[in-house]
C-alpha cells in the first residue's frame, strides 16, 4: 500500500490543476461569450468571401 504515498498526492494535484485551470479560464473571460466561442472554433483564418447581408 506504499503506492498510496504517490497516488493520493498525484490525484489531488491533478484535481487541483484542473480547478486552477477552470478558475483561470473564468477569470480570462472565456465563459463570457459561449455562443461566439462555438463558432470561432470552426471559423476560417483566411478572409472569407463577403456574405450577403440579410
Amino acid at each position: 500500500m506504499e503506492v498510496m504515498i504517490i497516488l493520493v498526492p498525484l490525484a489531488l494535484g491533478l484535481g487541483l490543476i484542473g480547478l486552477l485551470g477552470f478558475l483561470w479560464s473564468l477569470k480570462s473571460g472565456q465563459y463570457d461569450d459561449l455562443d461566439g466561442a462555438a463558432w470561432r472554433a470552426i471559423a476560417d483564418d483566411e478572409p472569407a468571401k463577403e456574405i450577403p447581408s440579410e
Binding site: L12, L19, L26, D32, P47, A48, I51, S53
Partner: protein
C-alpha cells in the same frame, strides 16, 4: 445650425494610450456576421481590437486615443448592414454579471471537491464490505475532510449569507434548512472521523452544494441574459437629444450625457427624450405615451414636457429639469411607491414550500434522535441517526425544483418574444384570471398608421407618399411609410403648420390640412371617416383625397383577446383616452368591459376592487400613467416601446408588433407552474421513501449519495418539459 454627433460620453480610456467603447449591435446572429463585423472594423486604421460577443450581441472596440471618432464605427457598421449604438453597462447589469461569475466560481470549487471526495469515498464504501483496514479508512476520511471543509466554506457562501439574512429578519427561506443540513453533516463527519467511525458524510454534503449551485447558477444566468437583452434594446433606441452648446450651435448627444439645466431643441416629428419645461416656442405635442390621451396638447412657454412626448408642429426649446419635478410625475411616483410595497408581500412558491418544509424536517430529525434515545440507543448513535435524517431530507431536489423550471420556461418565453424582469413572475402570471389592457400603445401600436389605405388608388398613394417625405410632421411620416415611399418629390416645399406642396407636370400637388388643399367640404361630407383620426388631405390638380391617420390596433389584437377568452380569462380595457376612441377599440375587439378617461388613481382603485373580489389581475400597459397600476396588479406586462418607468416596473416585457406574446407568456407560465408543483411533489415523494430508511438508522453514505443524485436528476429532466406548450390548449 449643423448638428454633430457626440459619443464622447461612452468612450472610456483603456490605458496605454487606447480608447475603448462598447456597441450594442442589432442583427448579429451567426458566425458569418461575427467575422464580417470583426474584419470590417479591424480594417479601419488605428483600430487595435474589434471583438464581437455573440451571446450579448455586442462589439468591443479599442483604438489609439484621439485617432478616430466613434461615430465612424457606427457608420461603418451601417455600411455592413448592422444597426449599432454605443452601450453603457447599467449598474444592475454589472452586478448581475459579477454575481453570475461568483456563482460559477463556487460551482467550480464545489464540483472539484465533489469529484475528489467521491474518488476517496468509493474505495471506502467498497472497502467496508471487503478488507480495508481501519487505518486506511481513517486516512481517506481525513483526506476527504481536508478537501470538503474549505470547499464547503467557500462554495456554501451564497447559501450561508442568504440564510443568515433571512434569519436576522426573522424569516425562514430555503437556504436555512440547506445551511443547517450542510453544517451539521460536516460537523458530524469530523466528529465521526475523530472517533474512527465507519461512515462519514463529507461526500453527501459537498455534492448537495454542487447540485444546488447548479440551480442557483441557472437562475442567475437567466436573469443576466434578460438584463443584457433589455440593455441592448434600450441602447438601440438610440435616444438622443439636441443640446445647445452655444447660442446657435447645437450638438446631438446621447440622453445619458444630458444634465439638468441643459437646453435642448425639439423639432417637429421628434420624440422628447428628457423631462423639462418649454422656455421658447409653441407647438402641439402628443402625450399619448404618457397619459394615454390621444388628443394633442398645446405646449408653450412654461408647459412641462415629459420624456416620450412627440412634438407635432412647431420647434421648441426645452430646459431639462430634474427627474422628480412636475405634478404628474410626483403624483405617479407617490402612487408607485405605495403599489410596490403591496407587491413585495407576495410570497414565492419556493419560500412557501420551505416555510412548511423546514419545521417538519427539523422536527422529524429531533424526534428521531429522541426516539432512539428512548428505546435505549446511545446518545452518539441517536445523534448520528438524527443527522442522517437531516442529510437525506436536505432539499436538494427542492432547491432545483423551481430554478430549473424557471430557467427552461424563461428560455422558451424569450424565443416567443417575452422578457422576464423577475423570476417569480412566472408563478404569479400562471394564476391570472383577469387581464386589464391599457388602450393607447398597448392594444394599439405606438406609431401612426393610415387606416383607409385600401380606399385610395395605388398611384395616388405613392405620389402622396413621395410628397410626404418632404415633411417632418409625424402624420406625414405615417403617410410616407404606408406608401413605402423611398425618394422625396423634387422641389417639394413645406409650409409650417399647413402642409407640403410640390408639382408634377402641370398639376400642383398639396398634402396637409384639408383647408390647405381646398378639401374642407369633402372632409365635412365624409362621415364614414373615423372622428378620432387625424385627417390629411391630398390634392392633385382638381382631384382630392383624404387620408385617415391614427394609431392602428395591433395586427393580432382581436385574435389575442379571443384566445384569452378561451382560457377563461376575462378582459377589460382601462384607458386614459376619451370615450369614443376607447369604445371604438373595445367594439372592434369584442371587449364588453371598458372604461374611458381613467386617471392613474382610478386604475389602481379598479385593480384593488378586483383583488378584493379574489381575482388575480394582470395589467398590460405602457404609459407613464400606467406605472403605478402595473405595480399594483398581481402581475404586469409592458410592450418594449413603453415609457422607461413602466418598463422597469413591469414583470414582463414583450417585443415586436404582435400582441400574441401575452397569450404565449400565460401558456408557458401555466405549464411551468404545473411542472414546479410536480417537481415539488417529486421531491416530497422522494422524501417519503427515503425518510423511513433514515429514521430506521440504516442509511449509509452510499444510499444518501445515490438517493440525492437520483432525485436531482429526475427533477431536472422533468423541468426540460417546460420548453414546449401544446398548441391551442386551454
Amino acid at each position: 445650425m449643423q448638428a454633430t454627433r457626440d459619443f464622447s460620453h461612452y468612450v472610456k480610456a483603456a490605458g496605454a494610450g487606447l480608447s475603448h467603447i462598447d456597441l450594442a449591435v442589432e442583427g448579429v446572429s451567426c458566425a458569418g456576421c461575427m467575422s464580417k463585423i470583426e474584419r470590417g472594423l479591424s480594417a479601419i486604421p488605428d483600430v487595435t481590437l474589434a471583438r464581437v460577443n455573440l451571446t450579448d450581441r455586442r462589439v468591443a472596440l479599442e483604438w489609439k486615443e484621439g485617432a478616430l471618432d466613434p461615430a465612424r464605427f457606427i457608420d461603418r457598421l451601417a455600411e455592413l448592414g448592422y444597426k449599432a449604438y454605443p452601450f453603457e453597462t447599467a449598474g444592475a447589469e454589472a452586478a448581475e454579471a459579477e454575481q453570475s461569475r461568483f456563482l460559477l466560481r463556487c460551482l467550480g470549487v464545489a464540483a472539484f471537491a465533489t469529484m475528489n471526495v467521491m474518488m476517496l469515498s468509493v474505495p471506502v464504501w467498497s472497502g467496508n464490505v471487503s478488507d480495508m483496514i481501519p487505518e486506511q479508512r481513517d486516512f481517506f476520511h481525513w483526506l476527504s475532510a481536508l478537501i470538503a471543509l474549505p470547499a464547503a466554506a467557500y462554495a456554501g457562501q451564497p447559501f450561508f449569507r442568504s440564510a443568515f439574512r433571512a434569519l436576522r429578519t426573522g424569516n425562514v427561506n430555503m437556504d436555512v434548512p440547506i445551511s443547517i443540513g450542510v453544517i451539521l453533516a460536516l460537523a458530524m463527519s469530523v466528529a465521526e472521523t475523530l472517533n474512527h467511525a465507519e461512515h462519514t458524510y463529507f461526500d453527501a454534503a459537498i455534492m448537495l452544494l454542487t447540485f444546488l449551485l447548479v440551480g442557483r447558477y441557472l437562475d442567475q444566468s437567466m436573469r443576466r441574459r434578460t438584463r443584457a437583452v433589455a440593455g441592448n434594446l434600450a441602447a438601440l433606441k438610440a435616444e438622443t437629444a439636441t443640446r445647445f452648446v452655444g447660442t446657435d450651435e447645437i450638438s446631438v448627444v446621447p440622453v445619458a450625457a444630458i444634465d439638468p439645466g441643459d437646453i435642448v431643441l425639439l423639432r417637429p416629428g421628434e420624440r422628447c427624450a428628457v423631462d423639462g419645461k418649454v422656455i421658447e416656442g409653441r407647438s402641439e405635442i402628443d402625450q399619448s405615451l404618457i397619459t394615454g390621451e390621444t388628443l394633442y396638447v398645446t405646449a408653450e412657454q412654461g408647459t412641462a414636457v415629459y420624456a416620450g412626448s412627440l412634438n407635432i408642429s412647431g420647434t421648441l426649446r426645452v430646459r431639462v429639469s430634474a427627474a422628480s419635478e412636475g405634478t404628474l410625475l410626483a403624483e405617479i411616483t407617490r402612487l408607485l411607491d405605495n403599489a410596490l410595497q403591496a407587491r413585495s408581500r407576495y410570497v414565492r412558491l419556493a419560500d412557501r414550500a420551505s416555510r412548511l418544509y423546514a419545521p417538519v424536517v427539523h422536527a422529524t430529525a429531533l424526534l428521531t434522535m429522541l426516539g432512539w434515545v428512548l428505546i435505549g440507543a446511545t446518545w452518539h448513535d441517536a445523534i448520528v441517526t438524527g443527522v442522517a435524517v437531516l442529510i437525506i431530507t436536505c432539499p436538494c431536489a427542492l432547491g432545483l425544483a423551481i430554478p430549473t423550471v424557471q430557467t427552461v420556461a424563461s428560455g422558451a418565453m424569450f424565443r416567443a418574444g417575452v422578457l422576464l424582469n423577475s423570476g417569480d413572475s412566472i408563478e404569479r402570471l400562471a394564476e391570472v384570471d383577469w387581464v386589464i389592457f391599457d388602450k393607447t400603445g398597448t392594444l394599439t401600436l405606438p406609431d401612426l398608421e393610415v387606416v383607409n389605405a385600401a380606399g385610395i388608388p395605388v398611384d395616388v398613394f405613392a405620389l402622396a407618399g413621395q410628397l410626404a417625405l418632404a415633411s417632418h410632421h409625424p402624420v406625414a411620416a405615417a403617410v410616407a411609410q404606408a406608401a413605402g415611399a423611398k425618394s422625396p418629390l423634387v422641389g417639394a416645399v413645406e409650409e409650417p403648420g399647413q402642409g407640403v406642396r410640390g408639382a408634377i407636370g402641370e398639376n400642383e400637388l398639396r398634402l396637409g390640412r384639408p383647408s390647405f388643399c381646398g378639401a374642407e367640404r369633402l372632409a365635412n361630407e365624409r362621415a364614414d371617416l373615423d372622428p378620432e383620426a387625424s385627417i390629411v388631405a391630398f390634392s392633385m390638380g382638381e382631384a382630392k383625397y383624404l387620408f385617415s391617420v391614427r394609431q392602428g390596433l395591433r395586427p393580432d389584437a382581436a385574435a389575442t383577446i379571443s384566445a384569452l377568452g378561451k382560457r377563461n380569462i376575462r378582459v377589460e380595457i382601462l384607458s386614459g383616452d376619451r370615450e369614443p376612441a376607447v369604445e371604438a377599440a373595445a367594439r372592434a375587439l369584442g371587449i364588453s368591459e371598458w372604461r374611458a378617461g381613467v386617471t392613474p388613481a382610478d386604475k389602481i382603485a379598479r385593480i384593488e376592487d378586483l383583488k378584493r373580489q379574489g381575482h388575480k389581475v394582470m395589467m398590460v400597459g405602457d404609459g407613464l400613467n400606467d406605472a403605478p397600476s402595473l405595480a399594483a396588479a398581481h402581475v404586469s406586462m409592458s410592450p418594449i416601446s413603453a415609457a422607461h418607468l413602466s418598463q422597469a416596473t413591469a414583470d414582463l416585457v414583450f417585443l415586436g408588433k404582435p400582441l400574441a406574446p401575452v397569450v404565449a407568456a400565460i401558456d408557458f407560465s401555466r405549464k411551468a407552474l404545473r411542472l414546479m408543483r410536480q417537481n415539488l411533489w417529486l421531491a416530497v415523494g422522494y422524501n417519503l421513501l427515503a425518510v423511513p430508511i433514515a429514521i430506521s438508522g440504516v442509511v449509509t453514505p452510499l444510499i444518501a449519495a445515490a438517493a440525492m443524485s437520483g432525485s436531482s436528476v429526475l427533477v431536472m429532466l422533468n423541468a426540460l418539459r417546460a420548453r414546449r406548450v401544446a398548441n391551442g390548449r386551454s
